[in-house]
Symmetry: C3
Subunit: 471 residues, 3 copies
């Protein structure tokens, strides 16, 4: 007989009874606060079109690189999971997943999935080889019903606002459609905003960079092969994004290097870049300069700037050649912030209009670099534990290593940062539980009064994110 | 109504009841041991002159860069706090501090300040906007009384000995005055010693370096623009410092790089440095060579050598231009010890007369580099968790990451390293509580016998520091 | 009176009672599983000849660099311990050790030693100055008896299989003798296998490298001064090692750098290396290329490849000159895997026949680099916490920092990696206790079902190591 699937009400709370009691009270006070999701990768088309999601494999397995990277690491070919243009039978792919579910023990994916299975789909028994078909059929059947369409789930999840992420070349039609729906009498009221992610037109090493500049020129009427036209095009697109609700930009560079070139130097560098006659150092310098340019635009238009550095993208060359980006082969690298950010900070670091949220995949910088920087510069705040570190232990390390130097108020609440829409409440729930557990530890060690912890629980869950992202 | 200010007797002890009980017993056995403060930045003039400290803002806010960096990070201009030549009203500055006291939740500053408020000034309600004036007036009034003069507080705090830090150009008049007082019949008996911190005449990139060499020449009668005269001047000043009680030198280089040049190479390098025609690599090499020279002098005169590397000083250029040094804008950097220390260790590493205490702002080196080095070389010991890491979590990480490889006996007890005189007992108290909590964990996990933990509690609090600093 | 020596049944289990209860149940279910020791440095001669071990100092003090590095760090000369060609009296050396046993408080050596004293030798009182001679005499007397011969202890320890480590120049005579014994009617049945550790013929900077190539030529009949002969010799020796049970190779390079040169480039580089006219960059590139060559051979012959990078060997130059290798002066260095492994992974990373086990002395790479790499590449697995980190806290950090990204099933169980034969059960016992404590935490936080934890306890103790090492 299959084992019962059980979401214990005290999951993730500290084991020590007095601490758990305090943590539970704190958690109860924030558990049902609305979800504010200021950074993520859901598809605005879901909310614009409100079509049904498809089958279990389509929705939960094939798009989730957390899942298939783990299966791949244990020798399961991506083709067998239906990734890429594979024609694998979805039920068979799902069975492979089910029969290897033990691989996820101790991982956050396991916690998120169990929540989705139990809380979204009402499954009562644990997932595994014996229950694979039961799961596949139940989930696929549910997904066909009205109650599991994107807008219904959005409302059910208590999402107050969600941001998606688009590039400057995106015409934001889905966002426009959602806004039209919002304005319609009796229309759906879900708030979906965009965010400005210009990597594809900033990184000279991005696939199709030159073609992208051509498309940006077409879209904006600016000549994006001149420095002034290129900058004007950014300004124009940022304004368009802001009209579609954007309050932030996002930058996924390999390093957080910044530069502060003189205008003529920057123009010369740009000319070299668009000529195609540049080397990797030129490309890195250009990205660096563009972070500073983006900061300057943020000073003017108020978009909060997010920097997500430190991922070695597409590390597995042959997998990339066969399957393309985002296939679980992005690997974190050592990241340096203190010297890298200085040029930008020298220029704008004390400007009260600027707000930059820093993320890292290199936890060794939490206490050494990020907390001291955010604990000094008015423009810097710390984003939450990110990606591989968006996990119970990762979040604990984040709080343990940043709080004493940066405090709580130089952090910005939680980001789910996901395209796995159904897991969003589970992810926020993990963050709330871990934060309440951390606060409870401070209370039980008499480092914080209980009323302060209660105030902080609400701040970390709801208030900080709204302020930091200007929502 | 304001909330009660309460210093719970079990604060910072582990939550688990059996562990807390053991920790409390250990703590009780060391709580009232004398304070030995072998490294810090109190002003010897306080003890020489014994004048009253001024108002609450003057004493507690304006000199404490831990506090104003946090306020600055949240957008409060330093001018509003009376920093620099600002004429801000001290009561208004204090109100700003009070109304932002929530920023310090979870930080060690909060713990130290609450102790100062409660234990030194007898405040009964929590600090905040509503109690700002009450605090300002009470503290300012207390500070005017005899009982709050420096010597009275020194005695009340149970300080057995405290070291200040002076540069070679300091004539140590205050120290001489204190010693004269000590010798007077019925004179104050407080023991205040100096330490030799020669950065300003060793670092070619220090502001005023050349002028400093001139002053060092005047002071010593040596020609400090020749290599031999320069070295002789150091020897002379070290001897003078030793007469004023110094048992240690201190070196605040950006990196722990050392060099072991031949004498003629060192002399050539020095000639280049004093010519002013040097680049940053020459400067770094000179600092590196001087660490080895200082080690050589330590072998002869017995001063214990402290190395405090890894701070990027004055990171915020415009703030430095307006307000100068030590304004909360020093940011830690990644630091490498294994290759950097080798030249010095190749020369002196096995000499039983040498003792070097290593500090770091880069916790990633605790387990990887520092503990293995200190667990092998007879001349190396580990200083306690420093600066940003002088905090409950920082101290826990220090013990967790160094003990298994270096043991306890290659560490040197606690340093308060502060100019915030009133917080010194609070800082030592935090260290004692955290150490006792760590020992209690070892006992409850049956890794240490209870009698050993009791011996260690006393060693970590009192014996190791006296031995390591040759006090 | 001396204190009782007591091995508490709950040692190393979490303090919190509910967690401890679960941990104890898990531990009880795996405590008596056989020991599988897939990587270590015991001497096959012990099992081939089965001679008595000598006195207490000979067996427990003189070969254990964990012990004498700590004594040396506190000023005890190696000569006084009988290291090198010192003629120190073994009883006096033992007394020095005994009178400094407090130095080991909080270290894993202390835990292992206490286990050896209590469980192997039946000592009832704690080790120290007062009991030094009692210990020396008891242990030395025991060692003279049949029950303390190597094979008897091997059987008593419940060792199912143990791997030693030999270089390609080793003729494996002891292994042959053990196999002959195994085959004898009524012969000893202990399973002792070798592992292929070719550093001395791969690292051009190894002492005697050129002479080693000559010996390798003699041994194999290949001309090891030609690239093709050199590779053929490796293939031949690997096959011989496999006949003596080897299922793995082991590589102790300073860095995990790999290269993927064209065959002609590799041949040219090798020619340069054997000419002796190479610099340190050539040497590093050659080691890098050889890791990839070894991976290629593993694809063919199935030996699992272990990489143990990041140790700065023989850091203390004068100690090395006097006493040679392995004297406690190997210091970990910062280590980079993401870029360094890419050339090898580009060539073989997706080959299902290849298995590489990665170790590190740089814990900052656990969560940042190693777990993401092992959580994606089919050929990569994570070795357990190694050397300085083979300790309770080190193992906890390993699980806390790798599990959420790599899961449990990309790890390979425990390695004792020791030449201290008597401590092997103690080391495995520590690993079992820490793993069960970690699993118990997951259960009590409701992140894992109890039946899953029970399955995992057995997997981490027994199943994973057998699969990963192909035993």
């Amino acid at each position: 007989m299959a084992n019962i699937l059980d979401l214990h009400p005290d999951r993730l709370l500290p084991a020590e009874p007095a601490t758990r009691l305090i943590a539970r009270q704190l958690y109860d006070s924030v558990a049902s606060l609305p979800i504010v999701s200021p950074h993520g990768h859901t598809d605005p088309a879901w909310f614009a079109k409100n079509e049904a999601f498809g089958d279990a494999t389509d929705l939960l397995l094939k798009p989730d690189h957390y899942i298939f990277r783990m299966l791949y690491s244990q020798g399961i070919p991506l083709e067998a999971l239906g990734i890429g243009d594979s024609l694998a039978d979805p039920r068979e792919a799902w069975r492979l997943f089910a029969s290897h579910y033990h691989l996820f023990r101790g991982t956050p994916s396991r916690m998120w999935l169990d929540w989705v299975f139990a809380a979204v789909f009402g499954m009562k028994v644990q997932f595994g080889a014996a229950t694979s078909d039961l799961y596949y059929d139940s989930i696929t059947e549910s997904l066909a019903s009205e109650a599991f369409r994107p807008r219904a789930l959005f409302d059910r999840f208590g999402i107050e606002v969600i941001a998606t992420t688009e590039g400057p070349l995106d015409t934001l039609d889905h966002h426009a459609a959602i806004r039209a729906e919002n304005r319609k009498a009796g229309g759906w009221q879900g708030k979906v905003i965009t965010a400005y992610r210009p990597d594809a037109v900033i990184d000279p090493e991005f696939e199709g960079f030159t073609a992208n500049l051509g498309r940006l020129s077409d879209l904006t009427g600016e000549d994006c092969f001149t420095w002034s036209g290129y900058l004007a095009a950014h300004r124009q697109r940022r304004a368009v994004f802001a009209e579609m609700g954007a309050t932030s930009s996002d930058h996924g560079h390999a390093t957080p290097r910044t530069a502060n070139l003189r205008p003529d130097e920057a123009a010369s560098l740009f000319a070299k870049i668009v000529s195609g006659m540049f080397d990797m150092h030129d490309a890195e310098l250009f990205r660096a300069q563009m972070l500073t340019e983006m900061a300057g635009m943020s000073v003017d238009d108020g978009l909060v700037m997010q920097i997500h550095p430190g991922s070695f993208r597409n590390h597995n060359a042959s997998l990339f050649a066969r399957f393309g980006r985002d296939k679980g082969a992005d690997i974190p690298m050592r990241t340096e912030f203190v010297a890298n950010l200085k040029p930008l900070l020298d220029r704008f670091g004390n400007d009260p209009r600027l707000s930059i949220i820093l993320f890292t995949l290199d936890e060794s910088v939490y206490a050494r670099e990020l907390a001291p920087l955010a604990g000094h510069y008015p423009c810097l705040k710390l984003g939450p534990a990110w990606w591989f570190h968006d996990s119970p232990e990762g979040m604990r390390r984040f709080r343990h290593m940043t709080t004493e130097t940066a405090g709580f108020y130089n952090t910005v609440g939680f980001n789910d940062d996901t395209r796995a829409f159904l897991s969003i409440p589970a992810r926020h729930d993990v963050a709330r539980r871990i934060d309440c557990g951390f606060l409870a530890q401070l209370v039980v060690e008499h480092r914080l009064a209980d009323w302060e912890a209660a105030e902080l629980a609400r701040d970390l869950t709801y208030n900080l994110v709204k302020t930091a992202y200007r929502l």
